[in-house]
Symmetry: C2
Subunit: 184 residues, 2 copies
């Protein structure tokens, strides 16, 4: 399954054939269909595993942070780190979002992650640490920044995960203005 994930990640789901996978593992085709009922199911299983792994990493990074804003920050950093170390899974997640067939599953997992962040945001707003804006929108915005920055700077340009995470956190917390008061 790890091998298959790698192949899917580098070649894409559709162009990678079952024959490629079993051929590369030097096993017969039968063994594939013994363990998985279809190519589609294999991908869903990989997808599910990847989402669980990311979520576990996030929860571990957060468990001993009391301050809600610090929890959000830890979540961003941890996601960035995880995406850097699991680039093949990252590619898979990106792809899953573009396929009618897999998008719902991806979205479902994403909503769970967002729900976590939403709770922290609500907590922080209640404590007066953050401005009172729709937490769901905020959380999705954070996810968007994290994903895109990871994709661009870590995957495409090979930059350091911690550095990119710093930038992402700074942007999410302070936005463009970053504490500069609007002269208007």
């Amino acid at each position: 399954m790890d091998y298959a994930a790698g192949r899917f990640a580098e070649g894409g789901y559709h162009p990678t054939s079952v024959a490629d996978i079993v051929g590369g593992m030097k096993v017969g085709k039968g063994v594939f269909y013994w363990y998985f009922s279809s190519k589609e199911e294999l991908f869903l299983e990989i997808l599910r595993d990847a989402q669980h792994a990311l979520r576990r990493a996030q929860q571990k990074a957060i468990e001993d942070e009391n301050d809600p804003v610090r929890r959000i920050e830890a979540g961003i950093r941890c996601s960035m780190e995880w995406l850097a170390e699991n680039r093949h899974f990252f590619a898979l997640l990106q792809f899953a979002g573009t396929e009618e067939l897999f998008a719902p599953h991806l979205r479902r997992g994403q909503e769970v992650a967002v729900a976590d962040v939403v709770r922290h945001v609500q907590e922080a707003i209640a404590a007066g640490q953050l401005a009172d804006v729709d937490p769901v929108v905020i959380s999705h915005a954070i996810l968007g920044v994290t994903n895109h920055l990871a994709r661009t700077f870590i995957l495409d340009r090979g930059e350091d995960a911690a550095t990119v995470a710093d930038a992402a956190v700074a942007f999410c917390l302070n936005g463009l203005r970053g504490g500069v008061l609007d002269p208007a």
Copy 2:
């Protein structure tokens, strides 16, 4: 080509066959290969058109804004509006980013758009309107927020483009804290 773009958007690039396209247009296969040398070339042409259209819309929205921050804001709003009105193209752009074959072309166009934003950011920083952070990172972050918010709230949930744009602008400008002073 419009028809083909629609098919690609709703069915995905790989699952949509040339036979589907020509069949749906009630023409022979020959006419397809008369105008395009391959399925791949057709997709690249569609992709290029979509990027040009988006860029034109952005430049039109910006041309009569003097303030750099206002130009950034106008760019976000205009992109959101365009993505809402051209959902099929949006789906295509998303897909192109996941395919080794098309990603470079997508990225090239994206870099052009980012370069525009970078100039505005630099101008604004020089004017003291924004904090002095790497403009390239900032610009990609804006792009990430815009894309993800558009995808989630406009495409998936059918919300109003202007409303989502408001939220995106607010987040980009002020971040999470949104002017709330850090008590620490």
